[in-house]
Symmetry: C3
Subunit: 266 residues, 3 copies
């Protein structure tokens, strides 16, 4: 898998990524996608989401501040994307924290064919019915490892599954990759997980192999975080957040080729 | 037109700018208006928008993440502002990208007397019925130039019209100005167009000549972007965004007098 | 009152703070809470707010961009928190600016037992029925001082009350403290008041004495602002905002012990 070329492709094609996401991360998501080289759009109204999804390169559904109306819009957008062959991503923020979040994430998974699901271990484990404590929207500790959860999720929903945390894993139900890029400072900035899902969406828009797209996204995103932390980690999370956007914009294929660390699980 | 004095007037009067805007740019819009010297308020509920609009110096309607309810609120706010003589601005984000956006922007234009419309060439052209491709909320390429579109828009809706992109133009249907301040880095930060519309609103709140207010806003805004890009353009879009807010706050009448570039079209 | 230890306790316990807040400040609030060491969650849907409030360390209700539906959710969340003994905070943004805001803030105060109310002098005075001019969401000038308003508010609603502005005061209806930390640059960044309310919530989550929690929050927050202004005050509000997040993360007990300025009113 030559992942360093995928970013160049993304920047050339500048795919439109349609986000139906939460109110906490909209600005950061838009700026992160712009920095990387994609073209973000946010559109939520049920009167327009099908049309917007149909012309997009990827559709990202994020339930972080869900309500019934936006879930309806997500299902409309997801179905329209399914019909057009546009990849659909799901970020089930806080699944397991409240019954409503678990139920709505499951409803989306039933009504829409999801191409990539991305969450922390607690969120994905809860949707798989594995017992796992979750505190608000933060993953707690659990017993099953990220790779195993990703594999099970990919098989259950017939999609690529990405589980992030201390260790990141991506699986398509057959092959599973472990990715070791990233930095703990990411946990001090809200929305780094949400933006990651949208970045995977941008890669999926230019790569029909969604597992490879996910690995490319995870490594490049993680490398940008490492570079940002090198320069600003000691200064604090405010500066890190800004430098992270800078690094997403400045990231080169050469840096990716040099710094990416991922292994296929045997 | 002596535009350098207008910023001083704005800072003295600190006008209240009532924004009904999209969820992507609310924070950036509020911080940008505060930095420049205006007083932002966001209020969306139909139970209060008329009252808030009535006490404001300008009302800015931005359809970036529209839904039916917020369009209702926009029309209520717009009509209340019309009655009180408070200038109303429209930013038809993504008009042309979906039928719903085009329809709702047209509905606002029918029901409210808009004082200034501001959009990219694609958005305004689409509302004028000129065939123009739009990709999400980004302007694509078209055949008619910005000044021509601004002129037509100003005449059609009997308002000032501002068309921004590689070239910026502002017209009141009689006189048309071309403005050359600004910097390409602005396209790498989400909401720079949206904030500009609100900044034009702040200038309109202290200047009954809306064309002059628009030219003053476009030049000062563009100069702040140039100054920010000088200092941070190489660093990346994260740093640029922050420095841009700094420059809006630090901008002086002298800098505006020295650096403003605008010409009246013959 | 030994306030310097309270921040350590907060960082150890990392309390979950459930915010139902306005769209302008969601990102800044989440990042500010994360920086300080708390765990933010935003959840608004009436189907889940009771469950989320029940597992939280504090619930923060902020009416900055209110609508009828979100007020319903706030009341549900507040009542659930009351039942579980979870502290509830109210930030009545813009109370007095429109009748709707005043009415809805009063409705919350009637239906929910609020543990801490935090606002500027105009907002709290208006809710108390004291005549006070308000311009949008900014406090104007009034005749009664902050300490007097805080005392009256605490007595009326049987809670701790925090009034912020040029001078900050906190009262539980018996004791009243004046706090002198802080910096004028805070008024140039949107949401510094809103984030403060959430930070008081984080302190209340680890301290059953809400007046002490408020004083600890006000001093530590103010000191972080002073440190940020020392380093970036001249640069501008963009840089200040970022440095403020850095300082919230880096603030130590020693700095608080050295720099905190508060006096009990005689």
């Amino acid at each position: 898998m030559i992942i360093s070329e995928k970013l160049e492709r993304l920047r050339e094609m500048k795919p439109l990524v349609h986000n139906i996401t939460n109110v906490v991360v909209t600005n950061f998501t838009a700026n992160g996608l712009l920095a990387l080289g994609a073209s973000p759009v946010m559109a939520y109204a049920k009167e327009e989401v099908e049309e917007m999804a149909s012309i997009s390169g990827a559709v990202v559904l994020n339930i972080g501040t869900l309500n019934k109306e936006v879930i309806e819009s997500m299902i409309l957008a997801g179905k329209a994307a399914n019909q057009k062959g546009v990849p659909v991503l799901l970020d089930p923020v806080g699944a397991g924290a409240t019954r409503f979040r678990t139920d709505m994430a499951n409803k989306i998974l039933e009504e829409v064919q999801i191409d990539v699901i991305r969450g922390n271990a607690a969120e994905i484990a809860n949707l798989l019915g594995i017992d796992w404590q979750i505190k608000g929207v933060d993953a707690g500790d659990g017993k099953v490892d990220a790779a195993e959860i990703a594999l099970q999720a990919a098989q259950k929903w017939n999609c690529a599954a990405v589980v992030t945390g201390k260790n990141d894993a991506a699986s398509d139900g057959k092959d599973t990759y472990l990715i070791q890029n990233g930095h703990p400072m990411m946990t001090q900035v809200t929305g780094t997980g949400c933006l990651l899902t949208s970045v995977i969406g941008a890669y999926c828009a230019v790569d029909s192999n969604h597992l490879e797209a996910a690995v490319a996204a995870l490594t490049s995103y993680g490398i940008a975080a490492e570079l940002a932390a090198e320069k600003t980690g000691e200064v604090g999370p405010g500066s890190f957040q800004i430098q992270f956007l800078n690094e997403l914009a400045n990231l080169t294929s050469e840096e990716i080729a040099q710094k990416a660390i991922f292994t296929k699980q045997q």
